[in-house]
């Protein structure tokens, strides 16, 4: 057995992940993908560790601001979206020059306007399902895809506005 060169060739992707990451790191990975509140037991199952270990890691991740906890029986956890958005804003403001951010923002704002015209609605959630064609499956799917893209555009507009503000406030930190 020559295990020191890494996992054997037949190990599956999950086994490779378990080999490569510590228990804490696996709980971190698991919680980053948790958009819904889940109990520590579910996190433990997904992270392939004991519930005690999962709870300890989760407590630490809550303190770090990565995860949020909701009291209950049992308590539940999910990722902290405001922390992740903040991180994305920081990354954009420090790694991209403000002119690039501004021109991206302008083109996204234009795309948002085009969607508003196309759907005759101020925002994607204001588009009523009843206005969808019922008999043409491809058309329905295409519209659903477009609405998802519109939601992504609006999210990006909010994030980029914050990134531009952030880059403007501290120009020395936020150089390209």
């Amino acid at each position: 057995m020559t295990d020191d060169t890494g996992a054997a060739d037949d190990t599956d992707a999950a086994a490779q992940w378990i080999d490569a990451r510590t228990t804490f790191q696996r709980v971190y990975d698991t919680v980053l993908g948790a958009t819904d509140h889940v109990p520590a037991g579910t996190v433990a199952e997904r992270a392939q560790c004991s519930e005690t270990a999962a709870r300890e890691a989760l407590t630490q991740l809550v303190e770090m601001g990565v995860a949020e906890r909701r009291d209950g029986r049992p308590a539940t956890y999910r990722r902290n979206d405001s922390y992740l958005t903040w991180k994305r804003v920081e990354r954009l403001a420090t790694e991209t020059d403000v002119e690039t951010l501004r021109s991206k923002l302008a083109s996204l704002t234009e795309t948002d306007r085009e969607f508003q015209d196309r759907f005759d609605a101020p925002e994607p959630d204001a588009v009523t399902q009843s206005s969808l064609p019922v008999d043409d499956h491809e058309a329905v799917e295409e519209r659903w895809t477009a609405l998802s893209e519109w939601r992504t555009v609006r999210r990006d507009v909010r994030v980029l506005r914050r990134a531009v503000d952030r880059a403007r406030r501290s120009p020395d930190e936020a150089s390209a």
Partner: protein
């Protein structure tokens, strides 16, 4: 996991943190050699994973896996093998509202044809990624046996 299968749930915006998670964890897998955000990292729309062509038979020039993940738990994993001397082979694991199919479905190779029931039951992004990578690893094995 709560039930994400309510028929009226629309597909949310792209889930940027999850795409980052999938990219960084995927490159640790022995099949994956690189990750890039397309069209760019400022406003990503998909994660492209480059697969190790060396592990494929010589006929396959390039293999990629394009990943999209949405806040509603919807996703698309699009696998492609490019060949110099023959048609490309592709398939897709999707989860999104579809009028004529279950929310999670599979477009089988070689052309990512009409949707059939999905072999992937997992809902967590890493579990779905791992299931897809395992399928690709099996596929590479099968290609060598041919």
């Amino acid at each position: 996991m709560t039930d994400r299968d309510e028929p009226e749930t629309a597909t949310g915006p792209l889930d940027e943190p999850t795409l980052r998670l999938l990219g960084t964890r995927a490159v640790e897998n022995r099949l994956v050699v690189c990750q890039t955000f397309e069209p760019d990292a400022i406003t990503p729309r998909r994660l492209r994973l480059g697969l190790d062509a060396e592990q494929y038979p010589a006929a396959v020039a390039e293999a990629t896996l394009d990943v999209r993940w949405f806040e509603s738990g919807d996703y698309s994993f699009h696998y492609r093998e490019c060949r110099d001397a023959a048609d490309d082979c592709q398939c897709r694991w999707d989860r999104h509202p579809k009028p004529s199919s279950p929310r999670a479905h599979f477009h089988p190779p070689p052309t990512a044809g009409a949707a059939e029931s999905s072999p992937v039951a997992a809902t967590h992004p890493l579990a779905v990624l791992f299931a897809v990578l395992d399928w690709i690893a099996d596929r590479v094995g099968t290609l060598h046996e041919r």
